[in-house]
Amino acid sequence: MKEARDQIFASIRRSLGVREGDAVRRQAAEARMEAARPGIQPVRGRGALEDRIAMFTRQAQSVSASVARVPRAADIPAEIACFLRDNNLPPAVRMGNDERLRDINWQGGGLEISHGASDGSQLNSVSHAEGGIAETGTLALVSGPHNPTTLNFLPDNHIVVVRGEAILATYEAIFAQLRTRFGKGVMPRTINLITGPSRSADIEQKLLLGAHGPRRLHVIILAESAGGDV
């Protein structure tokens, strides 16, 4: 094992014509990792909050996600019930123990709520995203008991709540936020960047939804409407 490792490193250095203790190269690499500087970032994701929400919505819809917007967290159960009804789905959802979801009053929405990971027998799941990325209509979800990863993939219908102000311009903006939360160079076990529902084009390049993951992705943006009134 050790021998294989050492030989590979020796071979890389021999081929590059460098020595192990080469301080200049080490410094260049370490400085790059330390700075973690963003490169070129597309202009299209940038803008004020409403512009970002609009871009996010457009992009997510263009990859077959459905998007709704509610002004208050208390409106989320009704929105979920409405989505399930519209798609002829049973009013039962599974979710993790995310505080932002737990704090919602789920009584009265007519929804049957269960908690925990998915074992493949649940039809609908609800997750709370860390944020959204306007550039491509992408959701960023972080693993843990709050939002178990299996909820993102096993149920047929995935409903994701994201706060409007957490919709940022680019992937880099989300990474910067994760660094603040988890510390430099430290990551949660899994980050899922999700752009639309699952799909495959492996049969004659025909685009089909619902390959192995969810057939439907419904995004609920929690944000007061632009004018402030509901």
Partner: protein, 480 residues
């Protein structure tokens, strides 16, 4: 252990492919849809060309500092509770992975699509160790049923038509009603989804590849559309990542920068559906995710490519754009190339990894039209690298006797301009006279390989040099 190869028989393979009507029909999907989608995605992003330059520069920087980044990556994976294994050869990598499977008593293994696992012949090794291997990418699943290898690095079943898939499913899924309707692609997908769902839930170990290995954080990233990679790595108790050593990205920002050109170049999507960043195994409090996380880093000839004229090939991010745009790939498909990596990138990489004696034919399968380089997101000079291999092949006397004799003969005349001009002008005039009635030749001596597929047009006038001279004279006359 490496995947079996038929690259030395490229010419025979290509012949067969050209006569295969089913294959030719399927290849139509590459010739049109994929090229248009990429062009549209590139045109919709004003920063696209600058992003390609940036991606090239990041990849160059990584290769120049590969040892340092690999050390940091290893440190970070270990700190997150994962295990890093280094494998010099494919054989060594297979031994490490079958060893993990044996230690964990794994009976069934699900796999996400991974080209390096194809390269090292991992499925065969696991099966010989008594482990059931299930490919879960829809395309990979189909070809695994058929006992085939991928014919494309991102669209593994692109050589098949829908009826081929239907036929295979009927043959293999015998537990289902024989009279069932499988007319639509949707029903084929639903059937595979149902079968594979059970496999996902029952698997003891999941193996994925990696699009990026982030040194800053010890994170492996996979980019997929189906979600099969995520089910593969989330449900079983053990997740094994197998990746080649050059997949490093220094930071998350560098990975994001390359992601922006990856999906656009590969499928014409702005972003693939699932981009998943994985760092170590299950954390305290987690209710799902793998208990063990391993990364197997495979060299298999790559470290020896650094510092050579083929180093640029290691910039490759495996998007498949070069083959999507290649007229030779369009004509013969991926299997003709005879090994894991087809198309222009395969024509450069195969001789690098397997030796010019085995893969030396492949760089000849190019018209040097340059479309591959135009489409490459990291601007690999593929035609130039193919030319380097052609030179090597010639230098090492690996080219067939007839090719060498032909080139020597041509060289003899080319070095004697007077004789060359005389010879060609006589030949052109003779051919012009002989073919004056029909306007073309159905057969030309020594050019049977060319004329058996198309006619050779009758020369219309003097030689190229004579025409050029005339044209230049005319232009000078005008400018004066």
């Amino acid at each position: 252990m490496t995947a079996p190869m038929t690259s030395p028989q490229f010419k025979d393979n290509a012949h067969r492919a050209l006569g295969d009507a089913q294959l030719q029909k399927a290849l139509g999907n590459v010739r049109h849809a994929v090229i248009e989608r990429r062009a549209a995605a590139a045109a919709a992003l004003p920063e696209f060309e600058a992003l390609r330059d940036q991606a090239r520069d990041i990849r160059d920087h990584v290769l120049q500092h590969l040892d340092i980044y690999l050390e940091e990556y290893e440190r970070k994976v270990t700190a997150a509770g994962g295990h890093v294994h280094f494998a010099r050869t494919g054989d060594e990598a297979c031994r490490i992975i079958t060893g993990i499977a044996r230690r964990r008593g794994a009976k069934s293994v699900t796999k996400g699509k991974s080209m390096v696992s194809e390269e090292i012949g991992l499925n065969g090794a696991l099966e010989r160790a008594g482990v059931e291997v299930i490919e879960t990418d829809l395309g990979e699943y189909i070809i695994q049923l058929r006992g085939e290898t991928p014919s494309h690095i991102i669209m593994p079943a692109v050589h098949l038509n829908q009826e081929d898939v239907e036929q295979e499913f009927r043959k293999r899924h015998t537990h289902l009603d024989a009279g069932r309707n499988l007319e639509d692609a949707e029903t084929l997908l639903a059937e595979a989804r149902g079968i594979l769902r059970q496999k996902f839930l029952a698997a003891d170990m999941g193996i994925t590849g990696a699009n990026f290995l982030v040194a800053e954080t010890g994170t492996s990233i996979i980019v997929t559309n189906e979600g099969n990679g995520d089910l593969t790595q989330t449900l079983p108790k053990v997740h094994v990542v197998v990746a080649s050593i050059e997949k490093i990205a220094p930071t998350l920002e560098d990975a994001a920068a390359i992601m922006r050109v990856l999906a656009r170049s590969a499928t014409g999507q702005d972003m693939s559906v699932y981009t998943t960043l994985s760092t170590g195994p299950r954390r305290p409090g987690d209710v799902d995710g793998p208990e063990e996380y391993h990364v197997v880093l495979v060299d298999n000839g790559r470290s020896a490519m650094l510092g050579t004229e083929f180093q640029d090939m290691l910039r490759c991010i495996r998007c498949g754009a070069c083959m999507n745009h290649c007229p030779v790939y369009h004509a013969v498909g991926g299997h003709a190339y005879g090994w894991v990596y087809p198309g222009p990138m395969g024509a450069v990489l195969t001789p690098s990894l397997m030796g010019v004696d085995k893969g030396g034919h492949l760089p000849n399968a190019s018209t040097f039209c340059g479309r591959c380089e135009d489409a490459c997101p990291v601007r690999i000079p593929l035609p130039k690298l193919m030319r380097h291999w052609r030179e090597r092949e010639f230098e090492r006397h690996l080219a067939p006797v007839r090719v060498r004799a032909g080139l020597s003969l041509w060289g003899f005349f080319a070095r004697r301009p007077l004789l060359y001009r005389l010879g060609t002008s006589i030949a052109m005039r003779a051919m012009g006279w002989l073919g004056r009635k029909r306007g073309h030749f159905a057969r030309v001596p020594f050019a049977g390989g060319w004329t058996s597929y198309r006619d050779f047009p009758t020369p219309q006038g003097g030689t190229f040099q004579a025409q050029w001279k005339k044209r230049e004279k005319g232009r000078q006359g005008i400018s004066r």
